[in-house]
């Protein structure tokens, strides 16, 4: 709570992104010199289908204020259908997380393709704003 009172608090957000679309999109955003908030740390994975729901829950337990997962748009997966099985998993996960009482905006899913540098920077802004509005994460955060 002390952190919340601090006006300078900045959220820590982790993003699991796929190598082929979103990571390339982030590259494009960089090359295009698009500005976006620096709160998000990217973790590159081969595919959004590679994202084990455990990564998300574990990130929350370790004290991340927000988690983003982003992959190729449906139909554009490098592995044909990795993002489709991911979509099913995440649909269930997102519902279940908010059902047990986690703020729905802590965990966000989106699709960003390699050509969407602009969208990538907007996603970063959008996600940071959403998490900022929620304040520091407290639920599920492990304290030693």
């Amino acid at each position: 709570m002390t952190e919340k009172a601090n006006e300078n608090w900045e959220p820590k957000i982790i993003a699991f992104v796929c190598n082929w679309c979103t990571y390339a999109g982030a590259d494009l955003a960089g090359i295009s010199r698009l500005q976006y908030p620096p709160n998000v740390r990217l973790v590159r994975l081969p595919c959004s289908g590679r994202v084990n729901p455990f990564y998300i829950v574990k990130a929350l337990q370790e004290g991340m204020d927000g988690v983003l997962v982003s992959g190729c748009h449906p139909g554009e997966c490098h592995y044909i259908s990795g993002n489709l099985s991911a979509r099913r998993k995440f649909a269930m996960l997102k519902n279940f997380l908010s059902y047990v009482g986690m703020e729905p905006d802590r965990v966000i899913f989106t699709w960003v393709s390699a050509s969407e540098g602009e969208k990538f920077s907007q996603v970063m802004k959008g996600v940071t704003d959403k998490v900022k509005a929620l304040g520091p994460a407290e639920k599920l955060v492990k304290k030693l």
Binding site: R88, A91, M92, F96, P104, I108, K119, L140, K142
Partner: protein, 336 residues
């Protein structure tokens, strides 16, 4: 019901006597009045130990998996041509057959390795509810008489309507008759009374404010003492090494830290997506009475509403997360 018990015994005896199966998994009377205990009959003459009543609670599909896998493990050192398959007979109500269906769909063993002795089910008595009905007093004797349960405690006897002590999952059960079976004993059971109300509890919980839901989740998980009885009795939890026991990487701490317990329970339940048959075993075995069903049922509801699937409802109905479709709903995707 007595008639069913008699037929179950006869059929089990026959299966063992003619060598169709190596073992029959069923229930036998326990040492406590309200308990039955899983039993493993190998001698045809022991088939008379089998019982079938309102206290048969634990889902036996778990043992079918255990026996077949234990046997497989013991065959590892045998030459391929000398390896044998274990054939297991099992007394199965609706939920048990749903679990067996999941095992078969997930290619855990072959259909011919299990002989399913289907029985109709009208619900079992939940220990926890019975205990609440008698104010936590020790039950010294109990029996089902017609539509009520007659319970004896130190302070005297009490008759409780069965409906009040039947497990919640039984009251709303859609599949109280076997989905698949090799033989069906007795007449099919009539539908359970509250089938249409199956998601009522979940809907009520969904309507609560987010912090109240979190408070309830925290309170319930706070009861958990990490004995893993829920996981171990669950027929769908058959991983050889559970994520809880992995240490490279270590996913969850072993202590009773509040968040570790929450993460353990959350992730175990999440592994039940499209695989929880609502058999109530985890609730029944939980020594601390954690309300797991409140959460598991949500997964069931979403599974049905989003993907039109119910766990183990039919062999052809593939497990939710093993398939996908181009037009799965994606309202949850964030678009800036």
């Amino acid at each position: 019901m007595e008639n069913i018990e008699k037929q179950v015994r006869e059929y089990a005896k026959k299966l063992l006597a003619d060598g169709t199966v190596d073992v029959v998994v069923g229930y036998e009377g326990g040492t406590l009045p309200f308990q039955t205990t899983p039993c493993f009959i190998t001698d045809p003459d022991d088939a008379k130990r089998l019982v079938w009543n309102r206290f048969c609670s634990v889902n036996l599909a778990k043992y079918v998996h255990d026996i077949i896998f234990g046997h497989k493990e013991s065959q590892k050192r045998a030459k391929p041509e000398d390896r044998t398959k274990k054939k297991v007979g099992v007394i199965a109500r609706g939920c048990t057959t749903r679990s067996l269906t999941i095992h078969l769909q997930e290619k855990q063993y072959d259909r011919d390795q299990v002989v399913i002795i289907g029985v109709p089910c009208a619900g079992f008595v939940a220990n926890k509810k019975m205990s609440v009905a008698v104010d936590g007093k020790e039950v010294i004797a109990c029996s089902v008489v017609g539509d009520s349960l007659s319970v004896q405690t130190k302070d005297g006897g009490k008759d409780v309507p069965l409906k009040e002590v039947l497990a919640d999952n039984c009251l709303t059960c859609r599949f109280n008759n076997p989905i698949i079976s090799d033989v069906m004993i007795g007449e099919a059971a009539p539908p359970m009374p509250d089938v249409e109300k199956e998601y009522e509890e979940v809907e009520a919980f969904e309507a609560l404010p987010v912090d109240e839901r979190w408070a309830y989740f925290t309170k319930e998980m706070g009861k958990c003492m990490r004995c893993y009885a829920c996981r171990n009795t669950c027929p769908s939890c058959y991983c050889k090494v559970c994520f809880i026991e992995q240490n490279q990487p270590k996913w969850v701490g072993v202590g009773i830290d509040e968040t570790d317990t929450q993460v353990f329970q959350f992730m175990r339940m999440f592994h039940m997506v499209g695989r929880c048959v609502d058999c109530g075993s985890c609730l029944e075995v939980c020594p601390m009475g954690v309300d797991l069903r409140k959460f598991l049922k949500k997964l069931d509801k979403d599974d049905f509403q989003l993907f039109d699937h119910r766990a183990g409802e039919a062999m052809e109905s593939a497990p939710t997360l093993s398939v996908h479709s181009e037009d799965d709903k994606e309202a949850f995707i964030f678009e800036p």
